[in-house]
Amino acid sequence: MSEVFDILISASFWAAVLRIASPLILATMGELICERAGVLNLGIEGIMVIGAFTGWMAVYLGLPLWGGVATAMAAGMLFGLLHSTLTVPFGLSQHVVGLGVTLLATSTAYFTYRLMLPEVTSPPKIEPFQPLHIPGLSDLPWLGEALSQTALTWAAFAVAGLVAFTLYRTPLGLAVRAVGENPAAVEAQGLSVTGLRMGAVIVGSGLMAVGGAFLTLSAFSSFFFEMVNGRGWICVALVVFGAWRPGKAVLGAILFAAFDALQIRLQQTDLGAVLPYQLFLALPFILSILALILMSRRAEVPAALMVPYNKGER
């Protein structure tokens, strides 16, 4: 166990945790916004793929890094528009549309990639975000190393703060929380249920795409097929894990990342020699389920989640 303790107190471990958590935080915030407005967005996995692809491709074609982030966001919002058009005014099954959007976004990214780069055998690299040097902070002994992160990681945490602030401190956030709970209440107060829900899904999808772009613009420097590798589905779980609250969801993402970073390191310990590596890989998923069980009684599910709203029907 002392090995585990040594890992847990090392600054490089916490630096890894923050890196691994960043894309999850971004995409989880995106999913959280959608679900708070009452729409389950299973398009997340594909939207992360399209974000990873377009963000990277934009930078490869000459845009600055933040231009890549903006491109990814725009691409994500486009698929968010598709998702929300089908699920909100038309009220189609959010499961089916979500899975359809994932399939469409993923295959669109791959198809476009192959059309644009038919002849390469390893994807070109871009110059990704580098860890920021923050005067004072970066020179601190332990903290400096743990907080040696790229601008996009800092942005992820800022986004989480912004989402929390907007949800709980602004009229917009109030409306979003209300529309996921009782759309009739929103309509009765003269607000557009359709507008709020579509807006939430579009903005949320934009954030998911930025989460995907983190992988190609910060965590790594080029795009690979299948590199999103189920991270979107994890974010769906993290939203539930966080009881639909941004703060708790960020904690969940950090916890998940910590287990991921830990399992990578544990594989090298005596424990890792005996136990199959699949157990370590499964650990974050198993713990998510355990956490769900532990907090099941306290969660406040948005009451109108997955319930389409048709004007006048009550």
Partner: protein, 347 residues
Amino acid sequence: MRLEPIANPSAVRRLGLPVLALLATLGVAMALATIAGANPLAVLGQIATGALGSRLAILETLNRATPLIFTGLAVAVAFRAKLWNIGAEAQLYAGAIVAVLLGTGALGSPMVLPVSALAAMLAGAMLLLGPVLLKTRLGVDEVVTTLLLNFIMLLFVSYLLEGPMKDPMGMGWPKSPALTPEARLPRIVEGLRLHWGFALAIIAAVIVWVMQTRTALGFEIRAVGQNPEAARFAGMPVNAVLLKTALLSGGLAALAGWSEVAGLKGHLSQDLSPGFGYTGIIVAMLALLHPLAVVVTAVFVAGIFVGSDAMSRAADVPTYIADMLLATALLFMVLAILLTKVRVVRG
């Protein structure tokens, strides 16, 4: 805008809109082919030929539809009770594991096929039982638990195939030993891949249909799905109904894995299913959760994929076009099906 139900949709509407959705998909196919530098007109024929143009094509389409019928039924049964089982993928693998456990010599008798099929169903059922118990007892959201179990299951399969279930004769490749000949489902057409699993899937669809429309359990499942509160007040054991639904749904999904192993592959590997569990959700929803329609939509989904995939080779465009067209067809089709029943009105 508001959606208003149409009391008696005309035949033109009911048939025309899905046809329109199909045509729109073909339009997208032509556009994509043009972008990729292929002949847009040739593409249409290539999709049709690829899906239905030869005995090989038809049998391959039906073959790919087989697991989708099972997973589609599994989802249809569960969703009917508003039990959001997103875990058909995991249940599929549970069935596949059982097919290997019992089919590689553990059972030698002629009983091996029925016994392993039932055991597979039991395994899939048990796998879904956990999340449903968590739902009914503790209120844990089953969308997330079933989704997460998919990943845990895949890792478990990976562990099995690299550990206890690894084929000693497999040259180190992570796969299970091959099933004994008597544990295999025979082919329907010798030399081609279509096997009796397809026939079983159709039979399963009929059985589920009869169950849903003609039995008390089917009635209870629908009642619980429509209004669990009312069902509870009417004296239905809602949780027990959910559990029965879970057993049935998990069992059906497991049969998909069982039939893929016993009928098609003859062994278990990590990539047994290219997402059949997830596609099953699409199949079920396209079928409006009707068990017989699941057969049709499974063949439709398989046909779109097989046809588009074949077209990608014939037209020399990236193979990913197949998934794009499948997704497009799906989204157009769910919208078309909705619009056969409602009209968009102002206010």
